[in-house]
């Protein structure tokens, strides 16, 4: 496009792959819009959570009874680590044709993502079964499960996507289609971490404070 170094969100390829950079502009912009719509989804879930955590507890346990700090902290650090590892993978996409390195960093991200999913699934199970606090018990619990469950599903879909891209990278190397998809995956993954910051703050930290 132009010689000006105008950047789009996420990894920019202008320095190493100018042709792809101009292609990426359109693709990434479209994906960015989709992510904004997703952010609105989570914002509305959080808003509903805000209201129901105060007024929808009914005769079930409230946030102060249900939440503690250890698990959320571990989950947060795991997700943060995965954001870092996918960043390293993105550097490989941009700067080297070293598929081995790329695959390793992606695998690390996937592993951390999986750990996050398992930890959170165990939490869900503990609440729903052990502590008799399933979503069917109250409005507060319904929105808690929907909010964190939606995030969980997004992460799970991200892992499926990652697996597919791993296959495509193996098959085609760093072809243009693959690069553009990996860039979008990176954006997606970082966005999910942004959403998690809001969740651990307004659900777990706020819950424990009360």
């Amino acid at each position: 496009m132009s010689e000006k170094k105008v950047l789009h969100p996420g990894l920019n390829l202008h320095a190493t792959d100018p042709g792809r950079h101009s292609q990426a502009e359109t693709t990434v912009f479209g994906f960015w819009i989709f992510l904004m719509a997703d952010l609105v989804l989570f914002a509305l879930l959080l808003a509903t959570y805000g209201s129901m955590s105060a007024h929808g507890v009914a005769d079930g346990p409230g946030p102060d009874e249900l939440f503690e700090l250890k698990m959320p902290l571990i989950q947060t650090l795991v997700l943060l680590a995965s954001s870092f590892t996918i960043g390293m993978a993105m550097l490989h996409v941009k700067y080297s044709s070293d598929l081995q390195g790329l695959s390793l960093w992606l695998a690390a991200t996937a592993l951390l993502g999986l750990v996050f999913l398992v930890l959170e699934a165990r939490d869900f199970h503990r609440f729903a079964v052990t502590e008799d606090a399933p979503p069917q018990r109250s409005g507060f619990l319904s929105i808690y499960f929907l909010l964190t469950g939606t995030h969980w599903l997004h992460v799970a879909c991200g892992l499926v996507w990652m697996a597919l891209l791993a296959v495509q990278t193996r098959a085609w190397g760093l072809a243009s289609q693959v690069k553009l998809r990996l860039m979008r995956l990176g954006l997606y993954w970082h966005m999910l971490d942004v959403v998690w910051v809001a969740i651990f703050t307004f659900v777990y930290l706020f819950g424990v404070i009360s």
Binding site: E25, T26, F29, G30, I33, F34, M36, A37, V40, L41, L44, L45, T48, S51, M52, H55, G56, V57, A58, D59, G60, P135, Q136, R137, S138, G139, F140, L141, S142, I143, F145, L146, L164, Q168, W172, A175, Q177, R181
Partner: protein
């Protein structure tokens, strides 16, 4: 109360088929339902027979269903809209007939059947008539107006169409198998919760609009990115036709407003089938949040419906007045104001739900404020007409009808924006009259005018003028006859969604309203007659040179029908109304210096497969046939993933072919006699405009 779901057939039972149900019940109401189901089934079978007999299956699949061409997709959207319009209009007629027959009498429809009718009427008109219609128009016209070859994401475009069609198919299926929701198009719980609506109806509604709204979100992304990134060199945002500005604002509204709807319906579904407590009466549910979430979507939605129509009016009025749009900048800013303000007023849909007077007042003032930019637009349109040389073609007649009627409807809107007034007329027929007053002269007239205006581009021939004018007369008179009585009845205390009346004072009003509805139906029939006659006379109505109306923007600078690749060479733009300026400077119809190979997207069957798979999956979810739900979802995923593994997604059109087509067209133009505006509705009009003495 619900028997455990069967593994193979879920909740489906023989008695759910509308014909069996009518046989068992034997009531007039059930007979009407069976009749409707019969018409739909017969219609479907006739289409299948026609396709087989004429050997049209192959071209249907190869040229249309697998195409990623924005023009073909646009035409298919509008076709879907017209089919669904027929159904929703028929439902309106049945409702009007019931109300006319039911003064002091139960009438011939059961209350429950009436409930389904107003629910499908509203849901279809909004999600499966209006949205596809405007999406189709924007799809066809906008890329050409900005000088582009296609949308930014052609595959996603086709998937959006498939999703919308799947949703429409689900609603049509509810006519024959099972029942539809009786909760209105807004679907408020607790009435739509499992306790009060235990059948499949609400689930049909939830999944039909979920499919449609996902399609619309993807469409919004596509439109926005296309306008931002695919404009031809020199096509600055402030040089775009107004239709593209309204398309841009519409797309932004689509992206951000669909989310609350998806959330609200998802939460309702979880409440219904998984025992969640988002909107239940007990256990900490908050049913008022449903109204909040729904109208967070619902209000921007009505602006999604009207903004493209505003865009059409800007094009139609400036073209048929032979004048540039007055106050272009103010129109752009007014459109942007309307788009932003549309996110600040949603509470006016539930003034009576129990908020404090202060909160109501804030939203009431915001609501009235939207009248200001709208007023700016109306004045700009009037000033465009002022001093112009106006031709009262069918689209222009619709425009005039719009200007008068929309302002009137807007005034009733300002009345309703006052919470104190609203407390008296909320959910009365006054409200029903108001929103039909906005939608029919605003949206519907706009879509019809747009169709008349741009039809030559899509098919290469004009629509017959006479039947267009007849359609206008019937729609315009019919609208007033059908809805002015409703204003009166509303002020007399008549509630909306009522299947019968106890007050004999309503009798004459509903009779007049029925007559009006029949006239509107006559208007629709006139449109179909117009299309049929025009197809038969298409040789005489042909406009191969491509510019039947002395158009101003780029879509008229091409042959009609528009070639697959739109422009042979990407145009370079230096002003607004680029094509008109070129014509006046004798610079139009040029031969490019050189032609290049053009890369277009390759055809693919994946979107069609996705549409069918999602339809089957949703059907499975509605009837709790879980094997079908999963199979459909898996098939969708498989088709999507398989498509992503395709390496070759484009095909090349050789420069020689482009050159040949372009030369042939220029040859046609050379041999075409230009027509003055007085003869643009005669067969002498072959699509070349005589230069008007400006």
């Amino acid at each position: 109360m619900a028997e455990p779901a069967d593994l193979l057939f879920g909740l489906l039972d023989r008695g759910d088929i509308v014909f069996v149900d009518a046989w068992h019940k034997g009531t007039a109401s059930a007979a009407v339902a069976a009749g409707a189901g019969g018409i739909a089934t017969a219609g479907l079978i006739s289409v299948l027979v026609l396709l087989t007999v004429k050997g049209w299956w192959r071209p249907l699949w190869q040229d249309w269903l697998t195409s990623l061409d924005h023009k073909k997709i646009g035409i298919m959207y509008i076709f879907l809209a017209l089919v669904m319009f027929a159904r929703a209009l028929a439902e309106a007629l049945v409702m009007r007939s019931q109300q006319a027959a039911a003064v002091g009498d139960p009438g011939f429809l059961s209350g429950e059947h009436f409930g389904q009718l107003f629910s499908t009427h509203g849901s279809i008109m909004i999600f499966f008539m209006a949205m596809p219609f405007l999406t189709g128009l924007i799809n066809y016209v906008m890329p050409i107006q900005i000088g582009a070859r296609d949308m930014s994401f052609p595959f996603m475009n086709a998937v959006s169409l498939a999703l919308t069609a799947a949703g429409a198919a689900l609603v049509m299926t509810s006519l024959v198998i099972g029942k539809f929701s009786t909760g209105g198009w807004s679907g408020y719980p607790p009435f739509t919760g499992i306790d009060f609506s235990p059948g499949p109806g609400v689930d049909y509604w939830i999944w039909a609009i979920t499919l449609s709204s996902i399609g619309s979100t993807l469409t919004g992304i596509n439109f926005a990115v296309t306008i931002y990134k695919e404009r031809a060199p020199g096509m600055h945002l402030m040089r775009m036709p107004l239709f593209c500005w309204t398309a841009l604002c519409t797309s932004i509204l689509m992206v951000f407003s669909m989310t609350p709807l998806t959330l609200a319906t998802l939460m309702l579904w979880l409440d219904r089938h998984f025992g969640f407590h988002f909107f239940t009466v007990d256990s900490g549910g908050n049913m008022m949040n449903y109204a909040n979430l729904f109208w967070l979507f619902g209000h921007p939605e009505v602006y999604i419906l009207i903004l493209p129509a505003f865009g059409v009016w800007s094009e139609v009025i400036s073209t048929y007045s032979g004048k540039a749009l007055y106050g272009y900048r103010s129109m752009v800013y007014a459109t942007m104001c309307i788009a932003v303000l549309s996110f600040t007023v949603w509470l006016h849909h539930f003034f009576t739900m129990g908020q404090s007077a202060q909160l109501n007042a804030v939203f009431g003032i915001a609501t009235m404020a939207i009248g200001i930019p709208t007023g700016v637009k109306v004045y700009d349109w009037l000033l465009t007409m002022w001093g112009g040389r106006i031709r009262f073609t069918a689209p222009m007649l619709f425009a005039t009808g719009f200007l008068v009627s929309f302002v009137f409807g807007g005034m009733t809107g300002v009345m309703l924006a006052n919470p104190t007034v609203d407390f008296a007329v909320h959910n009365s027929l006054f409200l029903v009259a108001h929103f039909h007053n906005m939608l029919i002269p605003g949206l519907l007239f706009g879509m019809i005018a747009g169709m008349q205006f741009w039809f030559p581009l899509a098919f290469g021939f004009r629509l017959e003028e006479r039947w267009g004018i007849i359609a206008f007369a019937l729609f315009f008179a019919g609208f007033y006859m059908a809805f002015m009585p409703l204003y009166a009845m509303g002020l007399m205390g008549a509630a909306r969604r009522s299947s019968m009346w106890l007050d004999p004072a309503f009798a004459s009003w509903v009779a007049i309203a029925l007559a009006g509805a029949l006239m509107i139906a006559g208007g629709f029939v006139s449109l179909i007659v117009q299309i049929a006659r025009s197809i038969r006379r298409r040789a005489a109505l042909a406009v191969p040179a491509g510019d039947p109306w002395d158009g101003r923007s780029l879509e008229w600078a091409l042959p009609a029908p528009t070639p697959e690749w739109n422009f042979p060479v990407q145009p370079e733009i230096s002003s607004r109304d680029a094509f008109l300026e070129a014509k006046r400077a004798d610079d139009a119809y040029q031969m490019p210096e050189e032609f290049e190979d053009i890369e277009m997207p390759r055809h693919t069957g994946a979107p069609a497969v996705i549409g069918v798979a999602l339809f089957l999956s949703s059907f499975g979810i509605v009837w709790q046939m879980w094997w079908l739900a999963f199979a459909g979802a898996l098939a969708t995923l498989a088709a999507w993933i398989a498509h992503s593994f395709r390496r070759e997604t484009g095909r090349t059109i050789p420069a020689a072919e482009v050159e040949r087509a372009h030369c042939a067209w220029l040859e046609t133009v050379r041999h075409t006699t230009p027509v003055p505006r007085e003869r643009e509705s005669t067969p002498a009009n072959r699509g070349l405009a005589e230069e008007a003495a400006t």
